[in-house]
Amino acid sequence: MSQKKILVVDDDPDMRLGLQLRLTANHYDVIFAADGVASIAEARKHMPDLMILDLGLPAGDGFSVLERLKVNESLSAIPVIVLSGRDRVGNWDRALKAGAKTFLQKPVANDKLLAVIRLVLAESEHTATTVYDLTGPGAN
């Protein structure tokens, strides 16, 4: 079975490298974008199985990326996990309404992130309608 491809969108190079090391160690193929515009271009080019999206981005924030994915026929099927340092209050609802599968707050525990990725990938193989409520206590 071929490796799943994950597009990581974050403007922080440290964050990108950290996620790259963690995800490749768990047998995912990782590609990157550092801003809103690039994220759409990369998504088109690579058609990833999953996108991990930060909210605060240059050239179109995470919400506008979600909006653009949603209206594009070929990209709208890509499941998105929002991973942001912003407050849960407000942003969680907003991200889910904009089409994200879930909202995770930085810093997110590795186990939790990997479990969510597995869940979302498994789900997207069947249907794409489930929204996961993962607001458990404590991110670590």
Binding site: K106, V131, L134
Partner: protein
């Protein structure tokens, strides 16, 4: 010019102060009205304009049109009496200054009116000639200052909220990188580490967690101060919350060789509170107890029904720590309070945090209707106590029973039983949460009540919705619920059945005078007697 209903900007009012004050006198007693008019007539021309009305209904219309700065309001009018007149006047013109006129015997009522938003009251027959214009000017000035202070306070609170939200975001991102790379190294993704290196990496991680919880604390405190703490009460087992808190603090206790234990009485009733918030309170208290107890000490958590008031559960967290000095006991729940004990500051548990934990605990407990307190003796440890309400069906139903109802209305009880097809006892929290969301979507918050997790099926997530409606009662509500379930495909694709049963009950007016217990029994009997199943089967 100012219009009623709009916010009156302070500068606008300042301008108003320099021209004629437009006074509306609402007074039905001709003698009283004449006296007041005479007082105004003695004032310099151009200081006041006076409009006199005798009925509340006319005053309301006049106020709604605007053009009034201040109202002199009699509280005994032919079509309005007591505080009600004030409420109506304020509803018609919320930003207009109100001064209440009362008789000598009504002073208590007048004092009450201040609480309802009147700026002042004047006792008829006791108003000195020159005092009236002064009272009006003072009332205007007080009103202006109040509006200014309120606006400033709101602005400052908003700034603080924005600032803290921004700061916490900025802090979380670098913290995420520290966490990420520390675990990359400790998990061996960048090469083998030896035991000592690993131990040091664990210290970094412990500190990351501490920083993270401090950031969360900061936000919690701001939200608590702004009255924005979200509390979502549900019935839940206190035992489990305690077990959770004890388990999460187990590591820290073990490090200090502290014996951490918990007990509760076997038949502890369910609590009615926000389970997450109660866990948070427990975590704060247990964490504190472990932190302030020397190596080899004891920390114990106990739960019981409150002896003084059986409608509450009481939790006690006791330790054999350094205790709290008598003069400090009253202050431990204060904002930013910290015990200044050098033994703690240098201890292994180390830094003392922000001093917000107990303050947050107090906010959380009091917001859920409970109390928190501490007893302590220096060098003999502390006992922290808090209470939360016991789950009671009666209490939950009370609001819809006390509401005034017309005879035609009926009450429908709907139970939604969620059962797993393979007979597994535990349903994933995710499924239960989704079901609950669905039910929330289709119930109307002002009319229907959702009573989740009742009875022996509690763990399986049995939901009761009590709905009152003038429509065809249960039929309509059932349709609403089914409709919602259909939209939530995901619930049905899982291996769970959703059984919706509903039953009609006689019109609510029949119950209104009966004792609550009887009503609850009938509800329970109704559920069992009229089982009318609509079962949605899973797809697979």
């Amino acid at each position: 010019m100012t219009t009623p209903g709009n916010f009156v900007a302070p500068e606008q009012e300042a301008a108003a102060a320099s021209r004629a004050l437009r006074v509306l006198l609402v007074e039905d007693n001709a003698g009283d009205a004449r006296l007041l008019r005479e007082m105004f007539s003695k004032e310099e021309a151009g200081c006041f304009t006076l409009t006199h009305l005798t009925r509340m209904s006319d005053a309301e219309k006049h106020l709604a049109r605007g053009g009034v700065d201040i109202v002199l309001l009699d509280m005994g009018l032919p079509d309005g009496h007591g505080l009600e007149t004030l409420r109506r006047a304020r509803a018609a013109a919320p930003d207009v200054v109100m001064i209440v006129l009362t008789g000598l015997e009504d002073e208590a009522l007048a004092a009450e009116s201040i609480k309802e938003g009147a700026q002042d009251y004047l006792i008829k027959g006791q108003i000195e000639n020159r005092a009236l214009p002064r009272a009006l000017r003072h009332a205007m000035e007080r009103h202006r200052m109040q509006a200014e202070t309120d606006a400033m306070r709101m602005h400052q609170l908003q700034l603080k909220d924005e600032f803290l939200s921004h700061v916490s975001h900025e802090l979380r991102s670098p913290l995420a990188s520290i966490y990420s790379f520390t675990t990359i190294v400790s998990d061996g993704l960048a090469g083998e580490t030896n035991a000592q290196q690993n131990e040091y990496l664990q210290i970094i991680l412990r500190n990351v967690r501490q920083l993270q919880s401090m950031i969360e604390d900061l936000l919690e405190v701001t939200q608590a101060q702004a009255g924005k703490l979200k509390i979502d009460s549900q019935p839940f087992s206190l035992d489990e919350a305690i077990a959770y808190a004890v388990a999460t603090q187990g590591g820290a206790a073990k490090e200090k060789e502290i014996a951490l234990s918990c007990q509760s009485s076997a038949d502890l009733p369910l609590a009615y509170a926000d389970a997450m918030r109660v866990r948070q309170v427990l975590t704060i208290l247990v964490d504190n107890a472990v932190k302030y107890t020397p190596d080899g000490g004891l920390v114990n958590v106990q739960a019981r029904v409150c002896a003084q008031d059986r409608s509450f559960l009481e939790v006690e967290v006791s330790d054999t720590g350094c205790g709290i000095k008598p003069e400090a006991i009253a202050r431990v729940f204060e904002h930013l309070y910290q015990v200044s004990d050098p033994a703690i500051a240098t201890g292994r548990a180390g830094r003392r945090g922000l001093g917000l934990g107990l303050h947050i605990a107090k906010e959380l407990v009091t917001r859920q209707g409970g109390e928190i307190w501490v007893t302590s003796e220096p060098h003999h440890g502390s006992h922290f106590f808090f209470t939360i309400p016991v789950f009671s069906l009666q209490e939950l139903i009370r609001p819809i029973l006390t509401e005034e109802r017309s005879a035609g209305e009926c009450i429908a009880v709907i139970t939604v039983g969620v059962t797993s097809r393979d007979g597994a006892l535990e349903l994933p929290g995710r499924i239960l949460a989704s079901v609950r969301e669905v039910l929330k979507d289709c119930l109307r918050p002002d009319k229907d009540v959702l009573l989740p997790d009742l009875g022996p099926g509690g763990e399986q997530g049995l939901f009761f919705a009590i709905a009152s409606t003038q429509e065809q009662g249960a039929e309509i509500i059932t349709k609403r619920i089914l409709g919602q379930f259909e939209r939530h495909e995901d619930l049905r694709t899982n291996e769970f059945n959703f059984a919706i049963t509903h039953s009609y009950l006689p019109p609510i007016v029949k119950f209104a005078n009966e004792p609550m217990e009887e009503f609850v029994e009938q509800v329970a009997a109704g559920i069992q007697a009229h089982i009318h199943n609509v079962i949605l089967r899973g797809k697979g």
